[in-house]
């Protein structure tokens, strides 16, 4: 255990000496201070009951914007309620019907071309045109119905939110939305900065002449590997915990509301950071290259993650993708095969807003990937001759 802790401590020290890490810490601090110091409680002063008397504003604002933070909260909440009520599934079904009509239209168009080519009688052509016209009408009606259903469901969801949140004050809603926003900023910053900081840990560890002295000591490779991994996560975890604590306390003092659910986003953010670190560590161990590890980390976070997110959230619903059936089928699987940092972040934000439906699936996929990456990376580390 002592050897494990020595390696953790050494990696902590290594982190502290990296300018990339220091920049990351400064930026995390800046975001935390900005939100903590530049947010004020605003009193509406319009005689509303206590639940609607206060909200949160930026220091320089005299009055809330038209779309207030509590409106934002209700928007987020109602989307979740709509999802809970099966809105996405209903819309997906409607779009499938639209797609079917489109396919019929294409087939009719081919039939029309063939009829024209063989100089079919006028009556046959007219019959095809009539069928096409009927199809178009059905499609227009379906689109209209889809929009109507969508808007009706959102309206109902909104009403449901009003009912459910009748006891929740505007200040509480504004606080939850503000903390969800700060979670977003802190998560994105962490991911971008941590890739740069962490990409050199494992290539540095296994560099010739460096790992030898460590492995020659009475330690086993499991301790060395996980000591390095945990050590790499230690400083960022401590920094994020400090940010969370400062925000929790500052907003608690300012608003008198102690929103403990804010802390539920912290392990999710750390899971995302741990997963990205595992990816760069894996590449670092396989290639021994810090540069490749760094590039892969950013590529995965910025490109692969965006692509996966688009596939998972857009492809099944967007008519734009309707012509590529394989893409839609693939999108349904991708959700379960690839981790998605954006979905994880959304889960973290949702946990802060404390919505009734919690999307655990992205977290489960991420956890599975984390385990697979760490196990395969360790196996490699264990079997390598240095």
């Amino acid at each position: 255990m002592q050897a494990f802790l020595a390696i953790v401590a050494d990696t902590w020290r290594q982190s502290k000496q990296q300018w990339v890490f220091l920049i990351l810490l400064v930026m995390l601090g800046a975001v935390t201070v900005t939100f903590a110091a530049l947010t004020k409680v605003h009193d509406y002063g319009d005689g509303s009951d206590s639940r609607h008397s206060q909200t949160l504003l930026w220091l320089w604002q005299d009055a809330p914007e038209e779309f207030t933070r509590e409106d934002h909260w209700e928007g987020v909440y109602s989307m979740v309620i709509a999802k809970q009520q099966g809105r996405e599934e209903i819309l997906r079904q409607k779009r499938k019907e639209q797609q079917k009509l489109k396919e019929e239209m294409i087939s009719l168009s081919d039939e029309y071309s063939a009829a024209k080519k063989r100089n079919a009688p006028e009556a046959e052509i007219d019959a095809i045109n009539e069928r096409a016209s009927a199809l178009q009408k059905r499609e227009a009606a379906l689109v209209e119905e889809t929009d109507r259903v969508n808007s009706q469901m959102l309206k109902e969801a909104r009403a449901e939110v009003k009912r459910r949140s009748a006891d929740i004050s505007d200040l509480q809603k504004a606080l939850e939305v503000t903390l969800a926003q700060v979670t977003t900023f802190l998560t994105i910053l962490t991911m971008l900065g941590f890739v740069a900081a962490a990409s050199g840990y494992f290539p540095g560890l296994i560099a010739q002449g460096s790992v030898d002295s460590v492995l020659a000591r009475p330690v086993n490779r499991l301790q060395v590997f996980f000591g390095k991994y945990v050590g790499g996560l230690a400083l960022i975890s401590a920094a994020l915990f400090a940010c969370w604590l400062v925000l929790f306390i500052t907003f608690g003092i300012k608003t008198g509301l102690w929103h403990w659910h804010f802390f539920s986003a912290l392990p999710m953010t750390l899971l995302a950071a741990a997963l990205l670190y595992a990816i760069v560590a894996w590449v670092g161990l396989m290639t021994r290259s810090t540069a490749l590890s760094l590039v892969t980390g950013y590529f995965f976070y910025l490109v692969v993650d965006t692509a996966v997110h688009v596939m998972v959230t857009q492809a099944p619903n967007d008519p734009l993708f309707a012509d590529w059936k394989w893409l839609v089928t693939m999108a349904e699987w991708v959700r379960y095969l690839f981790p998605n940092f954006r979905l994880m972040r959304e889960s973290a934000e949702a946990s802060v807003v404390n919505v009734p439906v919690f999307e655990a699936q992205p977290l489960i996929v991420a956890a599975a990937w984390l385990v697979i990456l760490l196990v395969t990376a360790f196996r490699r580390f264990q079997r390598t001759d240095f």
């Binding site: 050494d10 790992v211 030898d212 000591r217 009475p218 086993n220 001759d385």
Partner: protein
């Protein structure tokens, strides 16, 4: 005889057995000895040390360190190691390096602090203890490396090219440290291509070539074994300047090296001296003196390696 290191049929192959780095190696290093491992570049010296320390995984055979199976971490509890071309983290100071490796060795608290101070002082690095490694010269880094290898007062210390990059004065100091460790009862396992250094420090040596141990024993035993018990005789002749014919005559008898007022010649034994004198006199060379020199480890080493090459004994690589 109690052994600090013992290997039986230890082997290491790479590329699915196509490259044999260590070939069924049997080696015994007595406890408390200063053991030197010699061999040309690529002989497998560092691979052997790394295999013993599990930095490289053995492909077969067995070994013990201080009587414990070398694969178990406990075997390295009382073992120190200074790797060749080490790269300690640049963000650490000299004391930081010692603290880190001291903790890995199981030291803590006051004992760790005392040993760090003591070992850095021993290698003459106390004044630089709080300076970052990245600012050290190669020689300074080497001294700190030696200090970290001594932490925990190991009974067995592997030193891979310990004087590499160190100035002559520093080398002398490091040699003194090694001798001191020997006097204190530690077993030293020295890997070096500097044969004179090994000869000065070690009482036992092994010569390695293409992953095999060619000879092992005391320095004297090795020299005698290689030179057939006669010793490889080097003779210094002080003569008048040699003409071409005289030089050819010398070269027919042994390896010729020009020297002040004459030359040095390596002869197979004392029986070759008289014929050489006769040849020189026949070539009308004046002989002022003939002084036999003692054969040294370097000559024995070169001769042994040459013999192996002549016999075509090589590795699979």
């Amino acid at each position: 005889m109690e052994l600090a290191v013992e290997t039986k049929d230890l082997s290491k192959t790479y590329k699915r057995g196509r490259i044999l780095a260590l070939k069924a190696l049997d080696l015994q290093v007595p406890m408390g000895s200063a053991f030197g491992l010699l061999g040309p570049n690529g002989a497998g010296k560092s691979t052997l040390v790394k295999t013993l320390l599990t930095i490289v995984r053995a492909s077969g055979g067995s070994a013990t360190l201080l009587g414990v199976d070398f694969r178990r971490p406990e075997a390295r509890r009382k073992v120190g190691y200074l790797p060749e071309g080490h790269r300690f983290p640049g963000y650490l100071t000299g004391a930081g390096v010692c603290e880190y490796f001291g903790r890995l060795a199981g030291l803590r608290g006051a004992e760790l602090a005392t040993q760090i101070k003591e070992k850095l002082e021993l290698v003459g690095m106390s004044e630089w203890a709080d300076v970052k490694i990245s600012r050290y010269s190669k020689g300074m880094a080497q001294r700190v490396g030696l200090a970290q290898a001594m932490l925990g007062n190991p009974k067995l210390i592997f030193l891979d090219e310990p004087t590499d990059g160190v100035d002559p004065l520093g080398r002398q100091e490091i040699r003194e440290v090694i001798k001191r460790l020997c006097r204190q009862g530690s077993t030293i396992f020295l890997n070096s291509h500097l044969l004179s250094e090994v000869e000065q420090v070690c009482d036992r040596v092994a010569i390695m070539h293409h992953g095999r141990i060619l000879r092992q024993g005391s320095v004297r035993e090795i020299i005698d074994a290689v030179t057939g018990g006669q010793g490889l005789l080097q003779v210094r002749f002080r003569t008048s300047p040699l003409d071409a014919g005289a030089r050819q005559a010398v070269e027919r008898h042994g390896a010729f090296t020009p020297a002040d007022d004459g030359f040095l010649v390596n002869l197979p034994g004392p029986q070759a001296v008289t014929p050489l004198i006769d040849a020189l006199r026949a070539a009308r060379t004046e002989i002022f003196s003939v002084e036999p020199q003692h054969a040294n480890l370097e000559e024995a080493f070169i001769r042994l390696i040459q013999q192996q090459s002549d016999q075509g004994v090589g590795g699979t690589r």
